[in-house]
Protein backbone atom coordinates (compact mmCIF):
# COMPACT_ATOMS: atom_id res chain seq x y z
CA UNK A 1 0.00 0.00 0.00
CA UNK A 2 1.25 3.44 -0.86
CA UNK A 3 2.15 5.40 2.24
CA UNK A 4 0.72 8.87 2.67
CA UNK A 5 3.94 10.04 4.28
CA UNK A 6 5.79 9.08 1.10
CA UNK A 7 3.56 11.51 -0.75
CA UNK A 8 3.22 14.23 1.83
CA UNK A 9 6.86 14.56 2.87
CA UNK A 10 7.57 17.19 5.52
CA UNK A 11 9.46 19.30 2.98
CA UNK A 12 6.45 19.24 0.67
CA UNK A 13 4.02 20.21 3.41
CA UNK A 14 6.33 22.99 4.51
CA UNK A 15 6.64 24.42 1.00
CA UNK A 16 2.88 24.19 0.47
CA UNK A 17 2.28 26.22 3.61
CA UNK A 18 5.09 28.72 3.00
CA UNK A 19 5.72 28.77 -0.74
CA UNK A 20 8.94 30.47 -1.90
CA UNK A 21 9.05 33.07 -4.68
CA UNK A 22 5.29 33.34 -4.32
CA UNK A 23 4.72 36.76 -5.87
CA UNK A 24 4.25 38.57 -9.11
CA UNK A 25 7.62 39.15 -10.74
CA UNK A 26 8.35 42.66 -12.03
CA UNK A 27 9.91 43.00 -14.49
CA UNK A 28 9.11 39.67 -16.14
CA UNK A 29 9.79 39.03 -19.82
CA UNK A 30 8.15 35.59 -19.88
CA UNK A 31 4.84 34.68 -18.31
CA UNK A 32 2.33 31.85 -18.65
CA UNK A 33 -0.79 30.59 -16.95
CA UNK A 34 -1.29 26.94 -16.11
CA UNK A 35 -4.56 25.30 -15.31
CA UNK A 36 -5.59 21.80 -14.27
CA UNK A 37 -9.24 21.40 -15.24
CA UNK A 38 -9.58 18.27 -13.09
CA UNK A 39 -9.18 20.06 -9.77
CA UNK A 40 -9.15 23.76 -10.61
CA UNK A 41 -5.49 24.32 -9.75
CA UNK A 42 -4.37 27.53 -11.37
CA UNK A 43 -0.89 29.06 -11.44
CA UNK A 44 0.95 31.85 -13.20
CA UNK A 45 4.70 31.48 -13.65
CA UNK A 46 6.79 34.62 -14.20
CA UNK A 47 10.31 34.57 -15.61
CA UNK A 48 12.97 37.15 -16.05
CA UNK A 49 15.30 35.72 -18.69
CA UNK A 50 18.50 37.36 -19.90
CA UNK A 51 17.95 38.44 -23.48
CA UNK A 52 20.87 40.05 -25.23
CA UNK A 53 21.23 40.65 -28.95
CA UNK A 54 18.24 38.39 -29.58
CA UNK A 55 20.00 35.54 -27.81
CA UNK A 56 18.29 33.87 -24.86
CA UNK A 57 20.42 33.60 -21.74
CA UNK A 58 19.91 32.30 -18.22
CA UNK A 59 16.89 32.60 -15.95
CA UNK A 60 17.70 35.65 -13.83
CA UNK A 61 14.62 35.37 -11.65
CA UNK A 62 11.49 33.26 -11.39
CA UNK A 63 8.31 33.52 -9.32
CA UNK A 64 4.78 32.20 -9.28
CA UNK A 65 1.28 33.00 -8.08
CA UNK A 66 -1.95 31.08 -7.88
CA UNK A 67 -3.72 28.39 -5.94
CA UNK A 68 -3.74 24.65 -5.82
CA UNK A 69 -3.32 21.55 -3.69
CA UNK A 70 -0.33 20.88 -1.45
CA UNK A 71 1.48 18.89 -4.14
CA UNK A 72 1.05 21.41 -6.93
CA UNK A 73 1.94 24.37 -4.74
CA UNK A 74 5.02 22.75 -3.20
CA UNK A 75 6.14 21.61 -6.63
CA UNK A 76 5.84 25.14 -7.99
CA UNK A 77 7.68 26.55 -5.00
CA UNK A 78 10.58 24.11 -5.21
CA UNK A 79 10.73 24.45 -8.98
CA UNK A 80 11.35 28.18 -8.68
CA UNK A 81 14.19 27.48 -6.25
CA UNK A 82 15.80 24.98 -8.62
CA UNK A 83 15.77 27.10 -11.73
CA UNK A 84 17.44 30.39 -10.88
CA UNK A 85 20.56 30.77 -13.00
CA UNK A 86 19.69 27.91 -15.32
CA UNK A 87 19.50 28.10 -19.09
CA UNK A 88 16.41 27.06 -21.00
CA UNK A 89 18.06 23.81 -22.06
CA UNK A 90 18.99 23.02 -18.46
CA UNK A 91 15.47 23.79 -17.29
CA UNK A 92 13.99 21.52 -19.96
CA UNK A 93 16.35 18.73 -18.99
CA UNK A 94 15.48 19.09 -15.31
CA UNK A 95 11.75 18.94 -16.15
CA UNK A 96 12.41 15.80 -18.13
CA UNK A 97 14.16 14.13 -15.18
CA UNK A 98 11.51 15.39 -12.75
CA UNK A 99 8.76 14.02 -14.98
CA UNK A 100 10.47 10.62 -15.00
CA UNK A 101 10.76 10.79 -11.21
CA UNK A 102 7.06 11.41 -10.57
CA UNK A 103 5.95 8.86 -13.15
CA UNK A 104 8.25 6.18 -11.71
CA UNK A 105 10.51 5.95 -14.74
CA UNK A 106 13.79 6.52 -12.92
CA UNK A 107 15.83 3.51 -11.76
CA UNK A 108 14.85 2.70 -8.17
CA UNK A 109 18.15 3.50 -6.49
CA UNK A 110 19.60 5.66 -9.21
CA UNK A 111 21.26 8.74 -7.82
CA UNK A 112 19.88 11.69 -9.75
CA UNK A 113 22.10 14.40 -8.36
CA UNK A 114 20.60 17.07 -10.59
CA UNK A 115 17.20 16.69 -8.90
CA UNK A 116 18.56 17.72 -5.51
CA UNK A 117 15.72 18.52 -3.12
CA UNK A 118 13.18 17.79 -5.86
CA UNK A 119 13.67 14.08 -5.21
CA UNK A 120 11.17 14.37 -2.32
CA UNK A 121 8.50 14.10 -5.03
CA UNK A 122 9.41 10.45 -5.70
CA UNK A 123 6.35 9.37 -3.67
CA UNK A 124 4.04 10.90 -6.27
CA UNK A 125 4.74 7.95 -8.56
CA UNK A 126 2.65 5.78 -6.22
CA UNK A 127 -0.30 8.14 -6.74
CA UNK A 128 -0.89 8.33 -10.51
CA UNK A 129 -3.85 10.70 -10.04
CA UNK A 130 -1.48 13.25 -8.53
CA UNK A 131 1.17 13.33 -11.28
CA UNK A 132 -0.64 16.23 -12.93
CA UNK A 133 -0.54 18.16 -9.68
CA UNK A 134 3.22 17.72 -9.43
CA UNK A 135 3.87 18.72 -13.04
CA UNK A 136 1.43 21.62 -13.49
CA UNK A 137 3.99 24.33 -12.60
CA UNK A 138 6.56 22.70 -14.86
CA UNK A 139 4.18 22.58 -17.82
CA UNK A 140 3.47 26.23 -17.14
CA UNK A 141 7.19 26.98 -17.01
CA UNK A 142 7.64 25.35 -20.39
CA UNK A 143 4.79 27.41 -21.81
CA UNK A 144 6.37 30.56 -20.40
CA UNK A 145 9.76 29.70 -21.90
CA UNK A 146 8.11 29.09 -25.23
CA UNK A 147 6.11 32.28 -24.71
CA UNK A 148 2.88 30.52 -25.54
CA UNK A 149 0.00 32.95 -25.37
CA UNK A 150 -2.61 30.37 -24.27
CA UNK A 151 -2.87 28.96 -20.72
CA UNK A 152 -0.91 25.70 -20.36
CA UNK A 153 -2.89 22.69 -19.23
CA UNK A 154 -1.91 19.32 -17.87
CA UNK A 155 -4.06 17.60 -20.48
CA UNK A 156 -1.68 15.94 -22.89
Amino acid sequence: MADLRELYQEVILEHSKTPRNFRELKPANRKAEGYNPLCGDHFTVFLDVEDSNGKEGRIRDIAFQGSGCAISKASASMMTQSLKGKSRAEAEKLFDTFHKLVTGQLPANGNQAELGKLSVFAGVSEFPMRVKCATLAWHTLRAALERQPEPATTEE
Binding site: K17, C39, G40, D41, C69
Partner: protein, 423 residues
Protein backbone atom coordinates in the same frame (compact mmCIF):
# COMPACT_ATOMS: atom_id res chain seq x y z
CA UNK B 1 -34.69 -7.25 -1.73
CA UNK B 2 -34.03 -9.93 -4.30
CA UNK B 3 -37.64 -10.59 -5.15
CA UNK B 4 -38.87 -7.80 -7.38
CA UNK B 5 -42.61 -7.89 -7.98
CA UNK B 6 -43.92 -7.32 -11.48
CA UNK B 7 -46.57 -4.95 -10.25
CA UNK B 8 -46.13 -2.67 -7.30
CA UNK B 9 -47.85 0.21 -5.60
CA UNK B 10 -46.48 3.60 -6.64
CA UNK B 11 -45.88 4.72 -3.08
CA UNK B 12 -45.06 2.26 -0.34
CA UNK B 13 -46.75 2.75 2.99
CA UNK B 14 -44.62 4.88 5.30
CA UNK B 15 -45.57 2.50 8.10
CA UNK B 16 -42.88 0.28 6.57
CA UNK B 17 -40.16 2.81 7.22
CA UNK B 18 -39.19 1.08 10.42
CA UNK B 19 -38.33 -2.03 8.39
CA UNK B 20 -35.55 -0.33 6.48
CA UNK B 21 -32.68 -2.75 6.94
CA UNK B 22 -29.69 -1.04 5.37
CA UNK B 23 -27.37 -3.96 6.09
CA UNK B 24 -29.66 -6.32 4.22
CA UNK B 25 -29.85 -3.82 1.36
CA UNK B 26 -26.04 -3.68 1.22
CA UNK B 27 -26.00 -7.40 0.46
CA UNK B 28 -27.75 -6.62 -2.82
CA UNK B 29 -24.65 -4.70 -3.99
CA UNK B 30 -21.71 -7.04 -4.65
CA UNK B 31 -19.11 -4.25 -4.93
CA UNK B 32 -19.74 -2.92 -1.43
CA UNK B 33 -18.08 -5.92 0.18
CA UNK B 34 -14.62 -5.15 -1.13
CA UNK B 35 -11.63 -3.51 0.48
CA UNK B 36 -9.74 -0.52 -0.86
CA UNK B 37 -6.15 0.05 0.33
CA UNK B 38 -6.82 -2.66 2.90
CA UNK B 39 -9.82 -0.83 4.40
CA UNK B 40 -13.51 -1.60 3.89
CA UNK B 41 -14.84 0.46 0.98
CA UNK B 42 -16.87 3.47 2.13
CA UNK B 43 -18.48 4.63 -1.09
CA UNK B 44 -19.68 8.23 -0.75
CA UNK B 45 -19.45 9.35 -4.37
CA UNK B 46 -23.01 8.51 -5.31
CA UNK B 47 -23.77 11.83 -6.96
CA UNK B 48 -21.07 10.90 -9.50
CA UNK B 49 -22.43 7.42 -10.02
CA UNK B 50 -24.16 4.83 -7.85
CA UNK B 51 -23.20 1.20 -7.42
CA UNK B 52 -25.32 -1.49 -9.05
CA UNK B 53 -27.48 -4.11 -7.33
CA UNK B 54 -27.15 -7.73 -8.37
CA UNK B 55 -30.59 -7.59 -10.05
CA UNK B 56 -29.28 -4.97 -12.49
CA UNK B 57 -26.05 -6.86 -13.17
CA UNK B 58 -28.07 -10.06 -13.62
CA UNK B 59 -30.47 -8.35 -16.03
CA UNK B 60 -27.54 -7.46 -18.30
CA UNK B 61 -26.12 -10.97 -18.11
CA UNK B 62 -29.54 -12.52 -18.68
CA UNK B 63 -30.12 -10.42 -21.76
CA UNK B 64 -26.77 -11.30 -23.34
CA UNK B 65 -27.06 -14.94 -22.28
CA UNK B 66 -30.58 -15.62 -23.51
CA UNK B 67 -32.13 -12.79 -25.57
CA UNK B 68 -29.49 -10.91 -27.53
CA UNK B 69 -30.76 -9.79 -30.96
CA UNK B 70 -31.45 -6.51 -32.70
CA UNK B 71 -34.81 -4.93 -31.94
CA UNK B 72 -37.68 -3.73 -34.14
CA UNK B 73 -36.25 -5.60 -37.14
CA UNK B 74 -36.10 -9.37 -37.17
CA UNK B 75 -39.10 -11.65 -37.44
CA UNK B 76 -37.23 -14.31 -35.52
CA UNK B 77 -37.86 -15.36 -31.93
CA UNK B 78 -34.85 -13.71 -30.32
CA UNK B 79 -35.55 -10.37 -31.95
CA UNK B 80 -39.09 -10.56 -30.64
CA UNK B 81 -37.84 -11.34 -27.13
CA UNK B 82 -35.30 -8.52 -27.18
CA UNK B 83 -37.88 -6.05 -28.52
CA UNK B 84 -40.37 -7.04 -25.84
CA UNK B 85 -37.79 -6.64 -23.05
CA UNK B 86 -36.68 -3.28 -24.44
CA UNK B 87 -40.22 -1.94 -24.69
CA UNK B 88 -41.17 -3.36 -21.30
CA UNK B 89 -38.32 -1.34 -19.80
CA UNK B 90 -39.67 1.76 -21.53
CA UNK B 91 -43.06 1.21 -19.86
CA UNK B 92 -41.37 0.78 -16.46
CA UNK B 93 -39.64 4.11 -16.89
CA UNK B 94 -42.86 5.72 -18.08
CA UNK B 95 -44.60 4.60 -14.87
CA UNK B 96 -41.60 5.66 -12.76
CA UNK B 97 -41.83 9.28 -13.93
CA UNK B 98 -45.62 9.21 -14.40
CA UNK B 99 -45.46 10.05 -18.09
CA UNK B 100 -48.82 9.74 -19.88
CA UNK B 101 -47.51 7.43 -22.59
CA UNK B 102 -44.43 5.26 -23.23
CA UNK B 103 -43.88 6.96 -26.60
CA UNK B 104 -42.90 10.10 -24.68
CA UNK B 105 -39.93 8.30 -23.12
CA UNK B 106 -36.95 8.59 -25.48
CA UNK B 107 -33.83 6.62 -24.74
CA UNK B 108 -30.63 8.64 -24.87
CA UNK B 109 -27.08 8.08 -23.60
CA UNK B 110 -27.79 10.08 -20.48
CA UNK B 111 -28.94 13.43 -19.13
CA UNK B 112 -26.29 15.25 -21.15
CA UNK B 113 -27.49 13.84 -24.45
CA UNK B 114 -31.11 14.51 -23.48
CA UNK B 115 -30.40 18.21 -22.92
CA UNK B 116 -28.32 18.46 -26.10
CA UNK B 117 -31.16 16.83 -28.01
CA UNK B 118 -33.63 19.46 -26.81
CA UNK B 119 -31.18 22.32 -27.48
CA UNK B 120 -30.41 21.15 -31.01
CA UNK B 121 -33.95 20.20 -32.09
CA UNK B 122 -36.46 22.29 -30.18
CA UNK B 123 -33.87 25.01 -29.58
CA UNK B 124 -32.68 25.31 -33.18
CA UNK B 125 -36.26 25.63 -34.45
CA UNK B 126 -37.67 27.98 -31.79
CA UNK B 127 -34.80 30.18 -30.62
CA UNK B 128 -33.48 32.98 -32.76
CA UNK B 129 -31.07 35.86 -32.71
CA UNK B 130 -31.77 38.20 -29.79
CA UNK B 131 -33.79 35.60 -27.84
CA UNK B 132 -32.88 34.67 -24.28
CA UNK B 133 -32.27 31.33 -22.58
CA UNK B 134 -32.48 31.22 -18.77
CA UNK B 135 -30.50 28.76 -16.66
CA UNK B 136 -29.42 28.93 -13.01
CA UNK B 137 -26.19 29.44 -11.12
CA UNK B 138 -26.59 25.88 -9.78
CA UNK B 139 -26.35 24.13 -13.12
CA UNK B 140 -23.97 21.33 -14.00
CA UNK B 141 -21.87 22.00 -17.11
CA UNK B 142 -24.24 19.64 -18.96
CA UNK B 143 -27.04 22.18 -18.53
CA UNK B 144 -24.81 25.15 -19.37
CA UNK B 145 -22.68 24.20 -22.36
CA UNK B 146 -25.47 22.88 -24.67
CA UNK B 147 -27.21 26.25 -24.25
CA UNK B 148 -23.98 28.15 -24.88
CA UNK B 149 -23.43 26.19 -28.08
CA UNK B 150 -27.00 26.93 -29.16
CA UNK B 151 -26.59 30.61 -28.22
CA UNK B 152 -23.52 30.85 -30.42
CA UNK B 153 -25.26 29.09 -33.29
CA UNK B 154 -28.36 31.29 -33.34
CA UNK B 155 -27.15 34.47 -31.65
CA UNK B 156 -29.19 34.05 -28.47
CA UNK B 157 -28.22 35.26 -25.01
CA UNK B 158 -27.77 33.18 -21.86
CA UNK B 159 -29.20 34.62 -18.63
CA UNK B 160 -28.44 33.16 -15.20
CA UNK B 161 -30.68 33.06 -12.11
CA UNK B 162 -28.56 33.91 -9.06
CA UNK B 163 -28.59 32.08 -5.71
CA UNK B 164 -28.23 33.12 -2.08
CA UNK B 165 -25.37 32.14 0.26
CA UNK B 166 -27.18 28.96 1.29
CA UNK B 167 -27.33 27.79 -2.31
CA UNK B 168 -31.03 28.52 -2.84
CA UNK B 169 -32.43 29.98 -6.04
CA UNK B 170 -33.58 33.63 -5.89
CA UNK B 171 -37.07 33.37 -7.36
CA UNK B 172 -37.55 37.14 -7.36
CA UNK B 173 -34.53 37.47 -9.61
CA UNK B 174 -35.91 34.73 -11.86
CA UNK B 175 -39.15 36.71 -12.19
CA UNK B 176 -37.11 39.76 -13.25
CA UNK B 177 -35.20 37.78 -15.87
CA UNK B 178 -38.35 36.38 -17.46
CA UNK B 179 -39.41 38.59 -20.32
CA UNK B 180 -40.73 38.67 -23.87
CA UNK B 181 -37.34 37.53 -25.18
CA UNK B 182 -37.21 34.44 -22.94
CA UNK B 183 -37.67 31.36 -25.10
CA UNK B 184 -36.67 28.48 -22.81
CA UNK B 185 -35.65 27.76 -19.21
CA UNK B 186 -33.14 25.01 -18.34
CA UNK B 187 -33.09 24.09 -14.67
CA UNK B 188 -31.79 21.35 -12.37
CA UNK B 189 -34.22 19.44 -10.17
CA UNK B 190 -31.46 18.81 -7.60
CA UNK B 191 -28.04 20.52 -7.60
CA UNK B 192 -25.22 18.02 -8.02
CA UNK B 193 -22.64 20.11 -6.19
CA UNK B 194 -24.70 21.36 -3.25
CA UNK B 195 -27.69 19.04 -3.05
CA UNK B 196 -30.23 21.90 -3.15
CA UNK B 197 -33.68 20.66 -4.20
CA UNK B 198 -35.17 23.34 -6.42
CA UNK B 199 -38.80 24.52 -6.15
CA UNK B 200 -39.53 23.09 -9.57
CA UNK B 201 -43.31 23.36 -9.50
CA UNK B 202 -43.08 27.07 -8.72
CA UNK B 203 -40.35 27.68 -11.35
CA UNK B 204 -42.39 25.93 -14.03
CA UNK B 205 -45.52 27.86 -13.10
CA UNK B 206 -43.65 31.15 -13.38
CA UNK B 207 -42.23 30.23 -16.79
CA UNK B 208 -45.54 28.92 -18.11
CA UNK B 209 -47.28 32.14 -17.14
CA UNK B 210 -45.21 33.61 -19.96
CA UNK B 211 -45.59 30.57 -22.22
CA UNK B 212 -41.92 29.63 -21.79
CA UNK B 213 -41.17 25.89 -21.81
CA UNK B 214 -38.94 24.35 -19.13
CA UNK B 215 -36.27 21.65 -19.56
CA UNK B 216 -35.39 19.86 -16.33
CA UNK B 217 -31.99 18.29 -15.61
CA UNK B 218 -33.17 15.45 -13.38
CA UNK B 219 -29.86 13.58 -13.12
CA UNK B 220 -29.52 14.05 -9.37
CA UNK B 221 -33.22 13.84 -8.56
CA UNK B 222 -34.15 10.46 -9.98
CA UNK B 223 -32.65 8.30 -7.22
CA UNK B 224 -33.90 10.50 -4.35
CA UNK B 225 -37.10 12.37 -5.20
CA UNK B 226 -40.34 10.97 -6.65
CA UNK B 227 -40.75 12.30 -10.19
CA UNK B 228 -44.16 13.10 -11.60
CA UNK B 229 -43.69 14.90 -14.90
CA UNK B 230 -47.43 15.52 -15.23
CA UNK B 231 -47.81 17.04 -11.77
CA UNK B 232 -44.71 19.15 -12.40
CA UNK B 233 -46.06 20.06 -15.83
CA UNK B 234 -42.46 20.27 -17.11
CA UNK B 235 -41.98 20.30 -20.86
CA UNK B 236 -38.86 18.14 -20.93
CA UNK B 237 -37.21 16.03 -18.23
CA UNK B 238 -33.84 14.29 -18.72
CA UNK B 239 -32.19 11.79 -16.38
CA UNK B 240 -29.55 9.04 -16.32
CA UNK B 241 -29.76 5.39 -15.29
CA UNK B 242 -26.32 5.23 -13.70
CA UNK B 243 -27.20 7.78 -11.00
CA UNK B 244 -30.08 5.55 -9.90
CA UNK B 245 -28.36 2.16 -9.63
CA UNK B 246 -28.59 1.37 -13.36
CA UNK B 247 -25.94 0.94 -16.06
CA UNK B 248 -23.79 3.75 -17.44
CA UNK B 249 -24.37 5.12 -20.93
CA UNK B 250 -28.16 5.08 -20.86
CA UNK B 251 -30.78 7.62 -19.85
CA UNK B 252 -34.18 8.91 -20.81
CA UNK B 253 -35.69 12.12 -22.07
CA UNK B 254 -39.36 12.81 -21.43
CA UNK B 255 -41.13 15.42 -23.49
CA UNK B 256 -44.65 16.71 -23.97
CA UNK B 257 -46.18 15.07 -26.99
CA UNK B 258 -47.03 18.19 -28.98
CA UNK B 259 -43.47 19.48 -28.57
CA UNK B 260 -41.82 16.16 -29.48
CA UNK B 261 -44.11 15.73 -32.49
CA UNK B 262 -43.19 19.14 -33.87
CA UNK B 263 -39.44 18.73 -33.31
CA UNK B 264 -37.10 17.70 -36.13
CA UNK B 265 -35.08 14.52 -35.57
CA UNK B 266 -31.75 14.74 -33.72
CA UNK B 267 -29.73 12.02 -35.46
CA UNK B 268 -30.49 10.40 -38.79
CA UNK B 269 -30.17 6.68 -39.35
CA UNK B 270 -31.90 3.36 -39.01
CA UNK B 271 -35.02 2.82 -36.88
CA UNK B 272 -35.88 6.54 -36.95
CA UNK B 273 -37.45 6.37 -40.42
CA UNK B 274 -40.67 4.95 -41.81
CA UNK B 275 -39.53 5.05 -45.44
CA UNK B 276 -36.43 6.21 -47.27
CA UNK B 277 -35.91 7.12 -50.91
CA UNK B 278 -33.07 9.23 -52.19
CA UNK B 279 -35.59 12.02 -52.79
CA UNK B 280 -37.35 12.02 -49.44
CA UNK B 281 -37.36 10.28 -46.08
CA UNK B 282 -40.42 9.93 -43.88
CA UNK B 283 -39.60 9.88 -40.20
CA UNK B 284 -40.86 7.26 -37.82
CA UNK B 285 -43.38 8.04 -35.09
CA UNK B 286 -42.47 8.76 -31.47
CA UNK B 287 -40.33 7.70 -29.72
CA UNK B 288 -38.42 6.06 -32.61
CA UNK B 289 -37.99 9.35 -34.47
CA UNK B 290 -35.36 10.20 -31.86
CA UNK B 291 -33.76 6.77 -31.52
CA UNK B 292 -31.57 6.45 -34.61
CA UNK B 293 -29.36 3.41 -34.90
CA UNK B 294 -29.21 0.27 -32.76
CA UNK B 295 -29.67 1.54 -29.21
CA UNK B 296 -28.04 0.33 -26.00
CA UNK B 297 -30.53 -2.53 -25.67
CA UNK B 298 -28.89 -4.18 -22.66
CA UNK B 299 -28.53 -0.76 -21.02
CA UNK B 300 -32.24 -0.08 -21.41
CA UNK B 301 -33.09 -3.47 -19.92
CA UNK B 302 -30.69 -2.79 -17.02
CA UNK B 303 -32.32 0.64 -16.61
CA UNK B 304 -35.67 -1.11 -16.25
CA UNK B 305 -34.20 -3.44 -13.62
CA UNK B 306 -32.87 -0.40 -11.71
CA UNK B 307 -36.33 1.18 -11.74
CA UNK B 308 -37.73 -2.10 -10.38
CA UNK B 309 -35.14 -2.12 -7.63
CA UNK B 310 -35.77 1.47 -6.55
CA UNK B 311 -39.53 1.05 -6.74
CA UNK B 312 -39.51 -2.18 -4.76
CA UNK B 313 -37.32 -0.61 -2.10
CA UNK B 314 -39.68 2.37 -2.04
CA UNK B 315 -38.68 5.91 -2.91
CA UNK B 316 -40.25 7.29 0.26
CA UNK B 317 -38.28 4.84 2.40
CA UNK B 318 -35.08 5.64 0.50
CA UNK B 319 -35.73 9.36 0.93
CA UNK B 320 -36.37 8.95 4.67
CA UNK B 321 -33.17 6.92 5.11
CA UNK B 322 -31.09 9.43 3.17
CA UNK B 323 -32.62 12.38 5.00
CA UNK B 324 -31.62 10.81 8.28
CA UNK B 325 -28.06 10.25 7.00
CA UNK B 326 -27.90 13.85 5.77
CA UNK B 327 -28.98 15.22 9.16
CA UNK B 328 -26.48 12.98 10.93
CA UNK B 329 -23.63 13.88 8.56
CA UNK B 330 -24.43 17.61 8.63
CA UNK B 331 -24.32 17.61 12.42
CA UNK B 332 -21.13 15.55 12.63
CA UNK B 333 -19.27 17.58 9.99
CA UNK B 334 -20.40 20.92 11.42
CA UNK B 335 -18.66 19.99 14.66
CA UNK B 336 -15.26 19.72 12.94
CA UNK B 337 -13.17 22.84 13.46
CA UNK B 338 -12.13 24.71 10.32
CA UNK B 339 -14.71 22.86 8.22
CA UNK B 340 -17.13 24.97 6.21
CA UNK B 341 -20.20 23.45 4.59
CA UNK B 342 -20.94 24.82 1.11
CA UNK B 343 -24.65 24.61 0.39
CA UNK B 344 -27.00 24.74 3.35
CA UNK B 345 -30.36 25.02 1.62
CA UNK B 346 -33.43 24.17 3.68
CA UNK B 347 -34.53 21.67 1.07
CA UNK B 348 -31.61 19.37 0.30
CA UNK B 349 -30.82 15.93 -1.07
CA UNK B 350 -28.20 13.82 0.74
CA UNK B 351 -25.13 15.71 -0.43
CA UNK B 352 -22.58 17.44 1.80
CA UNK B 353 -20.08 19.68 0.08
CA UNK B 354 -17.36 21.16 2.26
CA UNK B 355 -14.00 22.87 2.39
CA UNK B 356 -11.34 22.68 5.10
CA UNK B 357 -9.43 25.85 5.93
CA UNK B 358 -6.06 25.87 4.17
CA UNK B 359 -6.31 22.25 3.02
CA UNK B 360 -7.09 21.76 -0.65
CA UNK B 361 -9.98 19.42 -1.51
CA UNK B 362 -7.68 17.31 -3.68
CA UNK B 363 -5.45 16.57 -0.69
CA UNK B 364 -8.52 15.75 1.40
CA UNK B 365 -9.58 13.27 -1.30
CA UNK B 366 -6.20 11.53 -1.42
CA UNK B 367 -5.98 11.06 2.35
CA UNK B 368 -9.57 9.79 2.55
CA UNK B 369 -8.91 7.40 -0.33
CA UNK B 370 -6.11 5.83 1.68
CA UNK B 371 -8.76 5.15 4.34
CA UNK B 372 -10.96 3.40 1.76
CA UNK B 373 -13.33 6.37 1.58
CA UNK B 374 -14.42 7.45 -1.90
CA UNK B 375 -15.61 11.04 -2.19
CA UNK B 376 -15.55 13.53 -5.04
CA UNK B 377 -13.17 16.46 -4.95
CA UNK B 378 -12.99 19.27 -7.45
CA UNK B 379 -15.38 21.66 -9.11
CA UNK B 380 -18.10 19.04 -9.71
CA UNK B 381 -18.55 20.22 -13.30
CA UNK B 382 -20.03 23.40 -11.87
CA UNK B 383 -17.24 25.96 -12.13
CA UNK B 384 -19.50 29.05 -12.16
CA UNK B 385 -21.03 27.81 -8.90
CA UNK B 386 -17.58 27.33 -7.32
CA UNK B 387 -16.74 30.92 -8.32
CA UNK B 388 -19.96 32.07 -6.66
CA UNK B 389 -18.71 30.67 -3.34
CA UNK B 390 -15.15 31.86 -3.90
CA UNK B 391 -13.64 28.37 -3.87
CA UNK B 392 -11.77 26.46 -6.56
CA UNK B 393 -12.96 23.10 -5.38
CA UNK B 394 -14.88 21.38 -2.63
CA UNK B 395 -14.90 17.90 -1.16
CA UNK B 396 -18.28 16.28 -1.62
CA UNK B 397 -19.78 13.27 0.12
CA UNK B 398 -23.03 12.08 -1.41
CA UNK B 399 -25.16 9.35 0.09
CA UNK B 400 -27.27 6.57 -1.36
CA UNK B 401 -29.78 4.03 -0.11
CA UNK B 402 -27.00 1.66 1.03
CA UNK B 403 -24.93 4.08 3.11
CA UNK B 404 -24.85 3.81 6.89
CA UNK B 405 -24.25 5.98 9.94
CA UNK B 406 -21.06 3.99 10.49
CA UNK B 407 -19.84 5.23 7.12
CA UNK B 408 -20.55 8.81 8.15
CA UNK B 409 -18.47 8.11 11.28
CA UNK B 410 -15.67 6.75 9.06
CA UNK B 411 -15.81 9.96 7.00
CA UNK B 412 -15.55 12.09 10.13
CA UNK B 413 -12.57 10.04 11.37
CA UNK B 414 -11.02 10.29 7.91
CA UNK B 415 -11.28 14.07 8.03
CA UNK B 416 -9.57 14.05 11.43
CA UNK B 417 -6.77 12.07 9.77
CA UNK B 418 -6.56 14.72 7.04
CA UNK B 419 -6.19 17.39 9.70
CA UNK B 420 -3.43 15.39 11.40
CA UNK B 421 -1.48 14.94 8.15
CA UNK B 422 -1.68 18.66 7.42
CA UNK B 423 -1.39 19.88 11.00
Amino acid sequence: MNAVPNTYPLIESSAKLGDYDVFKIREDFPILGQKVHGKPLVYLDNAATTQKPRTVIDALTHYYTTENANIHRGVHALSELATESYERARRKIQRFIHAPDPSQVIFVRGTTEGINLVAQTYGRTHIQSGDEIIISMLEHHSNIVPWQILSEQVGARLRVIPINDSGELLLDEFEKLLGPKTKIVGIAHVSNALGTILPLRKIIEMAHRRNVPVVVDGAQAAPHVPIDVQALDCDFYAFSAHKMYGPTGIGALYGKRELLDAMPPYHGGGDMISSVTFEKTLYNKLPYKFEAGTPDISGVIGFGAAVDYVTATGLDRIAAHEEELLAYATQALSAIPELRLIGTAKSKAAVVSFVLDSIHAHDVGTVLDQEGIAIRTGHHCAQPLMNRFGVEATARASFALYNTREEVDALVQGIQKVREVFA
